[in-house]
Subunit: 418 residues, 2 copies
Amino acid sequence: MTILIKSVMVNGKIQDIFLEDGVVCEISDECIKIADRVIYGQNKAALPSFINGHTHAAMALFRGYADDMPLKSWLEEKIWPLEKKLTEEDVYWGTKLACLEMIKNGITVFNDMYWQWKATAMAVKEMGIRGFLSAVFIDMFDQNKSAEEIDLNVRLFEVSKQFQPAVTFTFGPHALYTVSRESLEWIRDFSHAENILIHMHLSETEDEIHFVKEKYGLSPTEFLHSIGILSDRFIGCHGCFLDKNDCSILKRNGAKLVHVPVSNLKLAVGRIFPYALAKEYGIPFCFGTDGCASNNDLDLIETVKFAALLAKFSTHNPTMMPAKEAFNHATKTAAAIFGMGEWEIKVGASPDIILVNLNCPEMTPDFDLYSNLVYASKGSIVDTVICMGKVIMENRTVPGEEEILRTTSKIAKSLANR
Amino acid sequence: MTILIKSVMVNGKIQDIFLEDGVVCEISDECIKIADRVIYGQNKAALPSFINGHTHAAMALFRGYADDMPLKSWLEEKIWPLEKKLTEEDVYWGTKLACLEMIKNGITVFNDMYWQWKATAMAVKEMGIRGFLSAVFIDMFDQNKSAEEIDLNVRLFEVSKQFQPAVTFTFGPHALYTVSRESLEWIRDFSHAENILIHMHLSETEDEIHFVKEKYGLSPTEFLHSIGILSDRFIGCHGCFLDKNDCSILKRNGAKLVHVPVSNLKLAVGRIFPYALAKEYGIPFCFGTDGCASNNDLDLIETVKFAALLAKFSTHNPTMMPAKEAFNHATKTAAAIFGMGEWEIKVGASPDIILVNLNCPEMTPDFDLYSNLVYASKGSIVDTVICMGKVIMENRTVPGEEEILRTTSKIAKSLANR
């Protein structure tokens, strides 16, 4: 499959881009190759797509179901009872809704942790985007439950092979207050043997910090280090309560972080991702939206704006996390974290590509594309999305979107009344 | 002019709405009146429009020109030199760009403070929205400059009558570090005599607090109170550094506030609007975007999300500023602050009205319209805008937008090189 994008703004100039099976083969003033598909890029800019570093996709079904509540009753009275009712079919459609929203916001890769792994994988594959998918691994320190989870994960790892390359299996040990040391040690070994990423909530809340301190006498990061699970395959999400010592440990082990600012503010966890420390220690990090029960959208441009502004505010320094740097965390650093190669539009690279609309108020005037993108735009600026060499959205239209909206509306209603 | 909106979601039900010259005359299951214009509201919800409590509209021309800089060099090296070059024509077009963006984001009323008052007023009137417009009143404690500003403001107050009802003249004493006591006393008296609103930056930065303390031995609010300028005509913007005593004074005097969270974060002023105090003292407040040099967009839905999330985070309480309350601050409380009557869609009221698209991922599922609007949507959710009884946007199209984008792009480029 070849795609020719004509006369698009790319790397600061109006040029043509020629793609073959997702690989950028030519960028030139005028490409004369014949392509299977031609896209006219006038008044648009081509950029690498966004990567969502942390979400629970199918929770799109819960958008607006419960907000503005204390964390404990929100979880125990609202979210968990609803999650107990979720079938494979619900998760399949919920994930489709999330994928639709992500595509519309220029996200083509996401890192997920949720129930009904296979249903999620099917939805991702059908929607034509890429998912790093983990099952929620929770054993509540129960040996039998641990054995069950291990069995399930081994099976899913095998099953995942049929969903490649769209889907990559990862481990999703939920958090240190829900997963035993023994399970984590097993995950550590299997992850090492098979080169599998580990996706975990880390230092998100004060309760988590207290729990781990009480149980192990250590900070969450210190404990993870003590059992040897930290490596360049480890991706810790949230990280609000990380301190200098934690950051030094993470850096020494090559671990990565995901900054999830919108969820942290909405759930009022009490602290924000320590951007200045992550920067000081040089820990690679990207951004995540979290699930729609706690954000409530999947718009990474919005998340990037929150992150960039909070970096300035929390350090009393408006020069912190400038627009281009923020954009890079959301694209090329994210791609490096997930081992996806160069995520830039240059010959030989194979990033997914989005075209953003330049002919609109938020992009006018055009002093600085990255500033306009990060500080003035939203996901709705995205017009066209190319993922794995295929056009999956053009003119903001995704095939099948009506059916997804209709079906998920019905499922959500029935879930609440089931 | 009569408008019939058919089959739209309004106040929780699918109904018809009949408007005559902007007044809601009927809301019913089926309205059989004949109208000059019929709008089909299927898959849309009708809501009162948003009111932007603080901006500098024409600064839309400076979007992306200077970001991520220390406040002092940002102002002195970038913004002020550019502002010195601004002609009437520049401000006219810059304001048009801002109005276009605001209309696209469902804002039909804004409170402005900027140079070239008349050019702003012309643009507002032509775009068909409503502006509370003040000239920037700065005398730098110079008696001659004060006399000039007073002259100018008296003249503009007269001129403003030809722009009614779209435009309302207000006073815009910039801040306590730029305006003398004598000028403020004159504004106080003229405002009282002619019932004119006063729009002022208040307790935005630490430098301002120090300056006023040094000069007058008081907090900004205490000083304003000491000269008797606080009243229900006084609108203080930002208010980041207000304390209990200030809030008590503001409340006793009936003054109002505008919360401008995005700008405060981006410029890293060091504190956030004290939502808990404003609530405790019952001070009416609404939201403002600020100008595009410090936000960099004019999307009030985004601002409302920032405000609601910061309210939760700063109080460690996720129940603070729930979605519906946040929406109300941005609509009906704002309308009360500006003396615009009932800003709800009910018979006899005459709010401006927006129709928002319900058939999209961010509005699916539909558990809670206000949660979806505040936490999951952006301004791009707005499909149709009716202001002062006229349809000024339908299907996201505003007459003349191409010319505005083209002209302001050119002006911005020439400004930077002039």
